[in-house]
């Protein structure tokens, strides 16, 4: 038996299935994290619109200025 034969032998095997309980745990928890992120993004959007509507748009500007990274700031300047 040579190395090629060993390689072919190994490649002919399949992978064992991951347990179903793992699928449920990961997908449920991930869905919760993503739902929270979506709700947070929606709430932030509403707050920004309200601030703009009531004449406090400068607050959004200040928040963007403080929270934007250096890289984003440089791109804005260009």
């Amino acid at each position: 038996m040579d190395d090629d034969r060993v390689e072919r032998l190994l490649r002919g095997y399949e992978l064992p299935q991951a347990p179903r309980a793992l699928d449920l745990r990961v997908l449920e928890e991930a869905e919760g994290i993503l739902a929270l992120a979506r709700a947070r993004a929606a709430a932030t959007g509403i707050a920004r619109e309200l601030a703009n509507a009531f004449g406090f748009g400068y607050i959004n500007y200040v928040i963007d200025l403080v929270t934007s990274t250096d890289a984003e700031y440089r791109v804005d300047l260009i």
Binding site: L9, Y13, L15, P19, L34
Partner: protein, 190 residues
């Protein structure tokens, strides 16, 4: 009985479809999970030789990726799968190595994990599966990792070397040492 199961499957599929439309980030993550769960699970098993620890490592890696997306603000738009794979492999590896640092590796005779599944009807592979599984588990950890990633994960030696933090030639040498060892053991096994 059969009707109940069928109805439930229809309901599940309908729920999945409506979730796909309403929450594209959930659908994208579910697809990513389905694409990589089997491979990452086998990879983790090969590293820690322990079912629970492997499952924990895979779970933590996927949830770490989700938290990364969630922190980006727009989970649906960020993080295409091309970037996900290197993150997931590195994350599973780090978690498994961390576990091995905290607890000693499980002895070979106590490692009841399967890294291989023989195709149905393939008598030769079915007959050799148990012996080959033991031989793989008995390989030195770094050689076992290269064999697993190269054989079942279609990973280039450069990518494996980057993951292990070694030169490419070292990864190639580890692969050939492992094959030679498997060849000798299989010959002895008859």
């Amino acid at each position: 009985m059969g009707g109940d199961g069928s109805d439930r499957r229809h309901v599940d599929r309908d729920r999945e479809r409506s979730a796909d439309v309403a929450r594209p980030e959930v659908a994208a993550f579910t697809q990513l999970y389905r694409d990589y769960r089997t491979r990452l699970h086998q990879y983790a098993l090969s590293l820690v030789r322990n079912r629970e620890a492997a499952e924990d490592a895979v779970q933590d890696a996927f949830l770490g990726w989700v938290r990364r997306l969630a922190a980006g603000g727009h989970p649906a738009k960020s993080g295409p799968p091309r970037q996900a794979a290197p993150y997931l492999y590195a994350s599973v590896r780090n978690r498994c190595l961390d576990r091995l640092r905290r607890r000693p590796e499980i002895a070979l005779d106590q490692a009841h994990v399967e890294l291989l599944a023989a195709p149905v009807g393939d008598e030769e592979r079915i007959g050799l599966r148990h012996a080959l599984n033991r031989l793989l588990l008995a390989l030195p950890e770094e050689q076992r990792e290269v064999v697993v990633l190269r054989t079942w994960h279609d990973m280039e030696f450069a990518a494996i070397a980057a993951l292990q933090g070694v030169p490419v030639n070292t990864a190639i040498a580890r692969y050939h040492y492992a094959l030679a060892r498997l060849r000798e053991e299989l010959a002895a096994h008859g």
